[in-house]
Symmetry: C2
Subunit: 407 residues, 2 copies
């Protein structure tokens, strides 16, 4: 868990503002749920391995006898009635089940909020981090995928992240492929985990791992070799392993979004088992990791609601994205420092400051110190672009002479 | 704890954006700390009664033997190593102690974040709520109070909350007054709690409660009678009980902020014991409760740092304020609904939508239903201002005919 100092916090809030505005413009509605959910709901099986990483909140007013009873019953989990959410999908399903009558038939949700996982501390993994999710609940057709992907691509643009592409696949294509290879359904999840590693372990590695599962790999190497780079062209060859219905649906998505760099990748898997149709991920040519992803999960909401509702979602990896963004130059130009003498009249200072704020500037007062250079360097580092001295006889903002702060 | 549906969440985010922008323009820097702090720090005595309300987070990987040992040692608190913060002041003190070397000499902090208290559920009390605090650390002079109060008054204006005044007092004035009344120091806190209730229990009630504490109340009733309404005029009378130095300081603050409706109220107390100088609260003529408050707390940061640092803060009551705000008309005018036929071409829809978003509009697609009126009413309720039908032959945004949605 991290503290955010002013410069980092400003970058984060700037990016969050851009994301919020962009998703909202695309017709999504932001909601918020409490950070704590009932422990039973967090451990209902929808969260996969993340469930084990939930922080548990102790019941209030526990007495020694209650605790001793939990020990005797070998049920330490009963000491906690609440937990911190480990994702935003379980809370969304609970929210939708609770408030369905108050929501539009097709509900386009934004959730921008922290989640918590009790991971072992390691580089790039945080125990508290922000997720930015959009989800469309109640739309079974391709309009859901189209709205999610166009809104996400527009948001990456608005953040200034150019060159991103969206890799896309469909769970049905993976299922057909495994069937064609003669892989038994009970081995599918493990085979998918292997295929997901193609870019790391190569074709030989994938074939070796599949063989290790007891799969007859004759002919698989040749197919796997064609999977990686062919993209949409693979459709022209109409290989046996390709589910033609699912592929035609993907081609239609591509045709509907000519402005988005959509790349077909039949080796894209995505970890969570709840996906039922399309799956997608954000790639950037200079990065070895994805900047976000999502897919269709038509069965999941039904588990809370008791009746099936189609759903599809896209999550952008906020922590990764915010690290890639540069400084916000527009806000630096508008940020000024007023350097004043230690004996300056507070009323005069606040009067000048108020006038500049009314003009749309961000204004920091700094008492003059012996080491003026250090003071100005610190202000430049903190994102201020200009400074002026306040003389004891300066009474109006028009008298201030602003100079640029070197950066 | 509450879920926020789209309309409420939009109001909250709009207000948070205004507050963030206004505080930032006034030279404050936003920071963020993790929602969990070490349990030991949360229970260090700085949080007053709120410490008892902290949600406790269980240690990970607890074994039955650990728990049994905690029961045997009668130390159930040892089962938790973390807790959810109950305010933003304890985390600020910890943050400042950790990062002091990286912060400006005078540090003006913004913290806008949720806090948690395990209160019994009751009307208007929430277990998760947002606090908006600004604090100035390292400024001993009146410039701290002036910057805090002018920034807060400007923020209330920016939110559209007109007619607010700031009641102000000084702990030194209260101390002198109690001394003048012959109230022993060990009774001061209880006497202050009584005085704080003047507007609820009246002069007779205050005198009766003070008498109940064993105070000789001869003459006190007359003084209390003059406390309530006289405001700044009481200074002209220079009553014995008034600390003239502290009062002169308050007059100087008033002179420095002619644009702020600053009201002297010698009965203003504020609950927290850590205040050492000025104290202030936001009043609104139509409300029986305060919309925020703060004061100087010069001793507190030192308890974490080991060396004294002056500090002063102002917190606005976000949950109360957001309930008072009206709809954001500007965003309604920019929000439009496109009503389309069930068999509309998704590519055509997303093309129209993208063009309108690029023009700065917020766009929601709605599939036409039999009950069109219900659909449009729901869109109006959700904050959309206009709608247009998409014909199957509509290809450009210019062909759309927008009509107002009645509200």
């Amino acid at each position: 868990m991290r503290d955010f100092l002013p410069a980092d916090k400003a970058s984060r809030e700037h990016a969050l503002g851009v994301i919020r505005q962009s998703f909202s413009a695309h017709g999504f509605d932001e909601i918020e749920t409490p950070v704590m959910e009932d422990a039973a709901r967090l451990h209902s099986g929808l969260g996969g391995d993340n469930e084990k990483l939930a922080f548990a909140v102790m019941k209030r007013g526990l007495k020694a006898t209650d605790v001793a009873a939990a020990v005797a019953a070998d049920d330490l989990l009963s000491l906690a009635d609440l937990g911190l959410r480990f994702d935003l999908t379980v809370p969304l399903a609970r929210f939708y089940a609770t408030h369905r009558a108050e929501l539009p038939t097709v509900f386009r949700a934004i959730q921008i909020a922290p989640v918590w996982r009790a991971e072992r501390p390691q580089k790039g993994r945080y125990r508290q981090f922000v997720q930015c999710d959009i989800d469309i609940i109640g739309e079974a057709g391709p309009l859901a995928e189209i709205e999610l992907i166009t809104a996400t691509a527009a948001t990456l643009d608005a953040l200034g992240l150019t060159g991103c592409s969206i890799r896309i696949n469909d769970r049905r294509i993976l299922t057909t492929m495994l069937g064609h290879w003669g892989i038994a359904p009970e081995l599918s999840e493990r085979a998918l985990i292997t295929i997901d590693k193609l870019d790391k372990i190569g074709v030989d590695g994938v074939v070796a791992e599949l063989a290790g599962l007891g799969v007859d790999t004759a002919g698989i190497a040749d197919t796997v070799n064609t999977l990686g780079g062919s993209g949409w062209n693979v459709g022209a060859e109409a290989p046996d392993w390709l589910d033609q219905t699912a592929f035609a649906d993907l081609l239609a998505l591509r045709a509907a979004m000519p402005g988005v760099d959509l790349v077909f990748d039949p080796t894209l898997v995505r970890g969570m088992g709840y996906y039922t149709g399309t799956i997608f991920e954000i790639s950037h040519p200079t990065l070895g990791y994805s900047l976000g992803g999502g897919g269709r999960y038509d069965g999941m909401i039904g588990r809370f609601l008791g009746t099936d509702v189609p759903a599809c979602g896209f999550s952008i990896g906020f922590e990764r994205i915010v690290d890639l963004l540069g400084a916000d130059d527009a806000s630096t130009a508008r940020a000024v420092v007023l350097v004043h003498n230690p004996d300056a009249n507070p009323a005069q200072l606040v009067n000048l400051k108020t006038a500049l704020v009314a003009d749309g500037l961000r204004v920091r007062l700094e008492r003059r110190t012996k080491n003026l250079k250090a003071l100005l360097d610190r202000a430049a580092e903190a994102g201020f672009g200009r400074f002026a001295f306040v003389g004891n006889d300066t009474t109006t903002a028009a008298e201030l002479e602003f100079k640029d702060l070197g950066t």
